[in-house]
């Protein structure tokens, strides 16, 4: 059967799988819906990995799950899959199991009294779904956007202690702190035009009843128009998720990345343009991790081809340099030491270099790398600095 599945991730780490399946009854056109909650996305990932389903479908489903966690969007990504009943059941995406749960809930007398008449009949299931869903939902009616329905998740999202202070009130009365913010205008526009509005990472200042102060938050949300039997807009459904933590984390990450990029640029400039040889070597293996052109010349290597090679395996070898590296590997800083290389200059004289080597300790204090800077000195200065 062809089914559609979508996933959403809740702030308390759960994964909700929504599926739309064709009706079992050929006379009924309306699809069946299923909602399954997993304690963590990895629980579902394991199920999907082990399921005997086509590879391509598996990848589609896994990608949808991972993206729903890492890059959530509204409306949700719906993935069309062609799977057997058994396969859907093995993924716990079958409607039957959920219907069973709902039937059990319907037997609960306490719940029966709370259901508004607007949700009588089959819509009761939808009402229960919205009330229990960890995703915040609100339904408003009329041009004044009167709040007809609000689920506990939305009450929490807007910082209220209960629904009684907002339920049944127009939005401007229920959430007066939104004055001067874009939300009233957006709701008016959606009601007037019938065009949904999706807001991503929009800042809102909301009154927290618990803390008694206005708090700055960020939300992803959708304002979706609801239409009556004649097709006219009669209200707006709102689905929202708080993404404050994500916005703050990304701002911090961006700032760190900018700093890292600046440092990288600085280092790059030194390697490329400094009039000295620069080389970074791994301690122990003496593998060349990085080397600039001047250093390549010093080592008698074609430009930049020495990277990845081991110093002791180069041709020509530079024993004096190797010896200095060994000393530096033991923790000694080599300062202003002149050595001859195996490279011969224009006058058939050995070229000489003034070498400085600094051992670089890693996080645990062990010397992981050696950083060497070399400057060519004239051949006719045998006692230069030594």
């Amino acid at each position: 059967m062809i089914a559609k599945v979508a996933f959403l991730h809740t702030s308390d780490e759960r994964l909700i799988a929504l599926s739309e399946l064709p009706s079992n009854d050929p006379k009924v056109c309306d699809p069946r819906f299923s909602l399954t909650t997993f304690d963590h996305e990895n629980t579902f990932i394991k199920l999907a990995a082990l399921a005997d389903i086509p590879q391509e479908t598996k990848v589609d489903i896994l990608a949808a799950v991972l993206l729903s966690v890492a890059q959530p969007v509204f409306p949700h990504r719906w993935v069309e899959v062609n799977l057997s009943d058994a396969a859907m059941a093995s993924l716990r995406l079958d409607a039957e199991s959920v219907q069973a749960e709902l039937v059990k809930d319907c037997d609960d007398d306490e719940f029966e009294e709370d259901i508004p008449s607007a949700f009588q009949g089959k819509a009761e299931q939808f009402y229960r779904f919205l009330m229990q869903a960890p995703t915040p939902f609100v339904m408003m009616s009329g041009p004044e956007h009167r709040i007809d329905f609000i689920n506990p998740a939305y009450v929490k999202l807007i910082g209220r202690l209960g629904s009684d202070t907002v339920l049944g009130k127009p939005i401007r009365e229920a959430l007066p702190e939104l004055r001067g913010q874009p939300f009233y205008g957006l709701l008016d526009r959606v009601y007037r035009t019938g065009v949904p509005y999706v807001g991503l990472e929009v800042q809102a200042n909301l009154m927290s009843e618990a803390k008694g102060e206005v708090q700055e938050c960020f939300f992803d949300f959708i304002y979706h128009p609801l239409r009556d039997e004649m097709g006219a807009v009669s209200g707006i459904m709102v689905q929202a998720t708080e993404v404050t933590e994500r916005v703050i984390s990304r701002a911090a990450l961006n700032s760190r990345e900018d700093k890292l990029y600046d440092q990288w640029q600085e280092l790059e400039a030194i390697y490329k343009f400094a009039p000295v040889g620069v080389i970074l070597i791994e301690t122990g293996t003496l593998k060349i991790l990085r080397m600039n052109e001047i250093q390549s010349e010093f080592m008698g290597q074609p430009s930049l081809e020495g990277e990845g090679k081991v110093v002791t395996q180069l041709d020509p070898r530079v024993p004096a340099f190797e010896s200095l590296l060994e000393r530096a590997s033991q923790g000694e800083s080599i300062r202003n030491t002149v050595i001859e290389t195996g490279v011969v200059g224009p006058g058939q004289q050995q070229r000489r270099w003034l070498v400085n080597i600094v051992p670089l300790p890693d996080k645990v204090g062990e010397i992981g790398k050696l950083y060497a800077i070399s400057l060519e000195v004239p051949p006719a200065s045998p006692s230069f600095l030594n």
Partner: protein
């Protein structure tokens, strides 16, 4: 598992290559550049290590928020490994800027 049984399992579920292909396709969908992604399979005392190296700019996509995506990919790799009777661990690495410059 006998050799015959192992071959049968591999035929049915694919080998380490299928795990590799699954991961690479998932990474591609996360916007990770396929031409800058390399994989390598290593065998270490009963464990098959799948080393996936991505470009420095793509590493944050693979890690996800607080490493969540990476953890899920590791869980996925291990689970796919059990289907073919292998203990497979995923190692994620960033292509060294040092070697690229």
């Amino acid at each position: 598992m006998s050799d015959v049984a192992a071959v049968s399992v591999l035929r049915k579920f694919g080998g380490i290559e299928e795990i590799e292909a699954t991961l690479l396709e998932l990474l591609r969908r996360f916007g990770v550049k396929p031409d800058l992604t390399t994989t390598k399979t290593l065998h270490e005392s009963g464990t098959t290590v799948l080393l996936v190296t991505v470009a420095p700019g793509d590493f944050s996509k693979v890690l996800g928020n607080e490493g969540r995506t990476a953890r899920s990919l590791r869980v996925l790799t291990r689970t796919l490994g059990t289907r073919i009777g292998l203990h497979v661990e995923l190692e994620l690495a960033v292509e060294s800027q040092v070697s690229r410059l």
